[in-house]
Symmetry: C2
Subunit: 346 residues, 2 copies
Amino acid sequence: MSLTYKGAGVDIGRAADALGRVRERIARTKRPEVIGDVGQFGGLFASPGSDMTLVATTDGVGTKLELARLLDRHEVVGADLVHHCVNDALAMGAEPLFFLDYFATSQIEPAVFSRVVGAMADACARCGTALLGGETAEMPGMYAPGTYDLAGFLVGAVARDKVLGPERVREGDTLIGIPSTGLHTNGYSLAREICARVAASQGGTLKDVLTAERSELGGHSLGDALLATHRPYLREFRSLRDAARVGAIAHLTGGGWEGNLPRALPAGLGAVIDRGAWEVPAIFRVLAELGTVPEVDQWDTWNMGIGLVVIVPESDAAAALRVVPGAVAIGRVEAASGPRRVRWAA
Amino acid sequence: MSLTYKGAGVDIGRAADALGRVRERIARTKRPEVIGDVGQFGGLFASPGSDMTLVATTDGVGTKLELARLLDRHEVVGADLVHHCVNDALAMGAEPLFFLDYFATSQIEPAVFSRVVGAMADACARCGTALLGGETAEMPGMYAPGTYDLAGFLVGAVARDKVLGPERVREGDTLIGIPSTGLHTNGYSLAREICARVAASQGGTLKDVLTAERSELGGHSLGDALLATHRPYLREFRSLRDAARVGAIAHLTGGGWEGNLPRALPAGLGAVIDRGAWEVPAIFRVLAELGTVPEVDQWDTWNMGIGLVVIVPESDAAAALRVVPGAVAIGRVEAASGPRRVRWAA
């Protein structure tokens, strides 16, 4: 029998069909700097001036994908991918300009694809970010049927003299924490393993565990809590930038507190955090208890309720707190030595 | 038993170790525009002036990954990823500026990771492209053990009035073809299916089929031919840009001729191609024969020996051919109607 590309499991037309379903939502992300149309070999975007610095970042959403698939909540991971990239860019002081996505699967299901990429487009539009291009790959045999992976790429820009970073941070500066909506997009392999163990011990399915209502979660299910959208901090970033002299920002993602906060601190300095300054959300407490997760592993894996830490001079802290609802002063910058630079206040 | 992130299969330290092995090779890709160090939330790059247009592209390498893994040739796909992106950018007229990668796997094997990402870094260095950042994701359970996927993201720049594209193409223009090194990074699901069928019919393994020496391939194996590196056309692009008025460029990737050449042509125009102008390389003939692949599917899937098609005014064709060794005039632009815009000369 003769073989064709379609026969080998790859259907170019299917990708085109899937893309056609979201074309209008992608078009709504267009900014004045975007030149020409989708379909070229590269997306075109008018360069900002040479007084600007480009900020480029790439992210995935990890195994939260598996939960989204299991519970048929594909929109969540599409929005997550954009928000994760936007938050990484603003951590450097940048406004987002444009975004590209990579969507890989065994065989495109146009209905699923359009939900994921449509949600990406909507998230881009809300963040004022052009969805400038993407790659859709059918890789039969490499991905299990129904599974897919996502990667996002975002370029933003910041005035050259406004780039945030450790060199702007001083001992005594105040750390402002802004709440997360949950795990965001990190630590899901641990969360899933915990849920899987619970399922095994109860003799039920993973889906049962994820969909059962729980009083500790205010009647919500683990699945609801785990599939909260990774929150974008763009509005809060803009308010803070206008109200205070922001020195550096840490986006608390993979690696939790110790893995991210030091990236915003210069050598020789660390942070002391008062964990009593906010209440750790129930989802983290429930997961930690169900998995008997040691405290150090909780804080080295999850954001524990704070998604973004913004560092400002002590004299600007009050102004900063005023402009961001829900923000709390969680600690300050101090001298530090040794391998761990985040210290918990007694 | 208590659970940790490590216990759930994700080891942040392993990723850091893997990255440490290639840090020096990444450092060698640094350009003067790169600001600061790796490890921040986003890579920083001085913006080109506002007289420039940014060109952004994202690509994967498809299921060539599976062959690279089977035959332990991980370097190939690392270089492929960079070259694919570079070629897409130059198809718009752009020089590459910086590159970011996404590497996702079940559990990082530092030895494999450093071979893949090291090869990416070396390819970036050769193309004068800064490797500005990347995301390394461990997703246990989502990827089968030992498998990984890659996505690349590249930003280039071109003077605003030098962007290439269909609007610069006229009826009668000449098409210049530049040879490929093989399948590059497209049509591997078909190629793999063909090889798998041969293995099944011979009662051998896929690896046997891929490693057997073949007289039709000049004594090389199918694996050798299929794992030739996707060729970068940067040097040829620069020579052509200096020697001729290039109108548009088509990078022949997924979708073969009909899927890509029309992207370089304005509405109402098509291309007539003289397939006698070059010899289709043996690997395509061997695959087509082994799989009894219909001719239309061969040309709609593979590049058939031409990786880049450059469109120049007829009066510039001789000059263009002079500066690129191996380039051949393969056809011209003509009026076209109907769904297919690539016509084969009788």
